[in-house]
Subunit: 148 residues, 2 copies
């Protein structure tokens, strides 16, 4: 039997690959699209100032990973980074005009790829699968916030 670690790695790679193909049309990678989506989501939620830290916690990535990701996105002109006025340690992050309406597109393409991978699922199975993924995420979140 194939270990679960290998299964999830393969599924993750397959998802990324399919999304990369769609993202390339916008001059982006799947990872950049994902981060851009997270920024848009926080903006839509009404967060006044988005900081690098917020994105790291949301995506469960380390500081250096997000530092470099934002540097790439900034150099491509998709996000803007400016020092926060209140606390100069913080970096205030925002989407530029280039990435303004991109969020809906991201969600659409994400849903398309999921449907491709789950093409032999019933609607009920797809919903159940999504619920189970959320249960795992809840465990991961509670554990990482518990290590105070």
């Amino acid at each position: 039997m194939m270990p679960f670690g290998l299964k999830i790695a393969i599924i993750n790679r397959a998802f990324r690959k399919r999304l990369d193909e769609k993202a390339a049309a916008m001059g982006l990678t799947s990872g950049q699209l994902r981060v851009l989506g997270s920024i848009s989501r926080l903006e839509a939620a009404g967060v006044d100032e988005i900081h690098q830290n917020d994105l790291e916690q949301l995506e469960h990535v380390t500081h250096p990973a997000m530092t470099k990701m934002l540097q790439r996105l900034e150099s491509k002109g998709f996000v803007r980074c400016e020092p926060s006025a209140q606390d100069r340690r913080y970096k205030k992050i925002s989407c530029t005009e280039s990435s303004a309406g991109i969020y809906r597109l991201i969600l659409e393409q994400d849903e398309e790829v999921l449907s491709e991978l789950c093409c032999n699922f019933t609607e009920e199975q797809k919903a159940e699968f999504s619920r189970m993924a959320d249960m795992i995420l809840k465990n991961i979140d509670s554990e990482s916030s518990a290590d105070v």
Copy 2:
């Protein structure tokens, strides 16, 4: 709602992180452990000569990724690579004594991590989740083998 691409990326990172902690005790990373497991699995299945190509197809990774992975594993002394006698293009790969009994350990630790992540699942839910992952893998496999 969080896009599925982000969900699976987070779950994959969480799985890798937990497995990395266990693998570190053996001087390995989770990725190296995973590949070592795949080699052991092919050996146990009675494949006479394991080639780099076989591992790439099994793990759905590109040639250069596996080339470097095997170079790292070889330099650490966990695998042996020798040119095949039949066809000198092929590289014959085998586990060394250092990694002989490691397969059972890999499966145990994989199961442990899965149980941690699915701690709020019933046994039935865990089995159902595994079945669904297999269904997705089947789609991925059939698609990649169809592009002849």
